[in-house]
């Protein structure tokens, strides 16, 4: 094919410019800043001191641990999405279309907007305590606050995950399933050995983005339970950076999060290579 260097350059330059300015440059900057001690006026090179500080900081270590707990609980939510998508796959087309529209609604109201309703539901005098006939202060300690916030996160992502998985299930060629039926496979064998492997790539994508999403939980924490025992890494970075103005420390925390997300991404490639 003929090359179109000049045209290609014109078409890509705007995107590339913004990519450099607001993605590439910040990546370089965050790594550089993590080695600096930054005040408003001066910035001094301090080597690995920021990293030493954050790994001695119990609040930060707790936020890493919390993030993994959020990740594990929200992954259970992904499992329910998978089950629900399989369930919908076996329903009629008319139901599927109705369901898709309704599933999108909570996606629209995700995060900050709906958090007031969740605050009310989990209030000490709220609906959940009334249903359970109990008097639990849901946001009072980590053991109840983290599952409660995870439920909000799952609720916001459930619809979109289900829709994406359902679309992929519908993309599976009927000939595979028919061939399996002819070979005498049972219904469960078809679901487990044919359909799950066929949608594996999109499942990896969803799992990775759910884990990274768990590290990014922020709005709910800020609105309903802004405490150190509920903090995720995102919340910790934001607090260090913008409430305490310790840019160097916050940058070092951000680099740790960057490494974790890159690591997860590499892991995905490893899993694929099996």
């Amino acid at each position: 094919m003929k090359q179109h260097k000049a045209l290609a350059a014109t078409f890509i330059t705007p995107a590339f410019l913004f990519f450099c300015l607001f993605t590439l440059l910040p990546i370089i900057e965050v790594i550089r800043m993590s080695f600096l001690k930054i005040n408003f006026i001066t910035s001094v090179y301090v080597g690995f001191d920021n990293y030493k500080t954050i790994f001695k900081d119990e609040a930060f270590l707790l936020s890493i641990g919390n993030s993994f707990v959020y990740a594990i609980i929200t992954l259970l939510g992904v499992c329910t999405s998978v089950f629900f998508a399989f369930f919908l796959y076996h329903m009629t087309k008319r139901w599927q279309d109705t369901v898709r529209i309704l599933l999108y609604l909570p996606v629209l109201s995700a995060g900050i907007i709906i958090s007031s309703a969740w605050g009310w539901i989990f209030h000490q005098k709220g609906v959940i305590n009334w249903l359970l006939q109990s008097d639990i202060n849901w946001f009072g300690q980590a053991s109840t606050a983290i599952p409660a916030i995870s439920i909000m996160v799952i609720h916001a992502g459930f619809g979109l995950n289900t829709i994406v998985i359902l679309a992929n299930l519908q993309g599976i060629g009927k000939e595979y399933i028919e061939a399996a039926v002819i070979d005498g496979a049972t219904w469960w064998q078809i679901q487990w050995h044919i359909m799950i492997p066929m949608i594996a790539p999109i499942l990896y994508m969803i799992i990775i983005s759910t884990i990274i999403g768990a590290f990014m939980v922020f709005e709910y924490i800020m609105m309903v339970a802004p405490y150190s025992y509920t903090a995720t890494m995102a919340y910790s970075i934001f607090q260090k950076g913008f409430e305490f103005s310790r840019y160097g420390i916050a940058s070092a925390q951000a680099v740790v999060l960057l490494c974790i997300s890159v690591g997860l991404f590499m892991l995905k490639k490893q899993v694929k290579a099996w």
Binding site: F19, M33, I101, S109, A117, F158, I212, F238
Partner: protein
């Protein structure tokens, strides 16, 4: 039958928070805290909404429309022109450039928020509306979707047009552009919603009252009054009312365009 009941149950669970947000926004303190809650509201009061009369809504809406409009249109244009080049043009280092630009999709935005804030300050645009717009313009996810979409345009169609003597711009406007409407609308909508709900970043860069958007302004007011009970109006009710007002524009967009949301981006040319 059992299946349908199960479906209905799932829906009710999914919609409960939104439903009660709407109901409670019309309740006073006693109504909000009544257990069990009324499924159909009684003693409706509009206090939570009339309390908001004094808010500078005109300013907030103008800012929101400005940010959302510019972000969605410009970002859609930038993103799709890049995807177009990656699909239809050959140039050196194409694959490397694609991978570099796309891989950053996995980096959580919070990682970059501090250096981006510093860059924005150095550019001298802090305190204006532009930071809220500029950081969203490069959209790797949209670029990926755009590429998937353009990949379904048959290359043979383009080749025959080129053989007939059409130049590249004619190919773009006469062949590809007319069949791109679904992807254009999808990107406009997703970026519009993104710009309207980009809470963390906007909270940082839009602190001046005159620069606040609907989202930032309303949330700031709701949390600022959260701890003080003013004139007998319980803050929970008012927070709910704030939420309802914020959902409203999104819901309108969604209902107008839901067929574009829920369609499969199957491809430009249906076989």
């Amino acid at each position: 039958m059992v299946k349908k009941l199960f479906l209905v149950c799932i829906f009710i669970i999914m919609l409960i928070p939104m439903y009660f947000m709407l109901i409670c926004s019309f309740q006073d303190i006693h109504g909000v805290m009544k257990m069990p809650p009324d499924i159909f509201p009684q003693n409706i009061t509009f206090k939570n909404y009339t309390m908001m009369k004094a808010y500078p809504f005109a300013r907030w809406i103008a800012n929101t429309v400005f940010i959302t409009g510019i972000t969605s249109v410009v970002s859609c244009f930038i993103t799709l022109s890049a995807s177009y080049a990656f699909v239809f043009f050959e140039f050196p280092h194409k694959k490397k450039l694609w991978v570099t630009m796309l891989l950053t999709i996995m980096i959580p935005r919070i990682v970059l928020i501090i250096p981006t804030y510093v860059i924005v300050k150095k550019l001298g645009i802090a305190g204006t509306l532009w930071p809220a717009i500029l950081v969203l313009l490069y959209n790797p996810g949209g670029m990926f979707l755009g590429r998937l979409y353009f990949d379904t345009v048959p290359k043979s169609l383009l080749e025959s047009a080129r053989l007939d003597g059409a130049n590249e711009m004619q190919v773009l406007w006469k062949i590809v552009a007319p069949m791109s409407l679904p992807i254009v609308i999808l990107l406009l909508l997703t970026m519009g919603i993104m710009a309207m709900t980009d809470f963390i970043w906007q909270m940082l860069v839009l602190q001046k009252p005159a620069m606040q958007t609907l989202l930032i302004g309303i949330i700031a007011k709701a949390t600022e009054l959260g701890n003080t009970i003013q004139m007998g109006v319980e803050p929970i009710g008012r927070k709910m009312a704030s939420g309802v007002i914020l959902v409203f524009p999104l819901l309108v967009i969604f209902l107008i365009a839901n067929k574009y949301f829920t369609q499969d981006i199957g491809g430009a040319v249906k076989e």
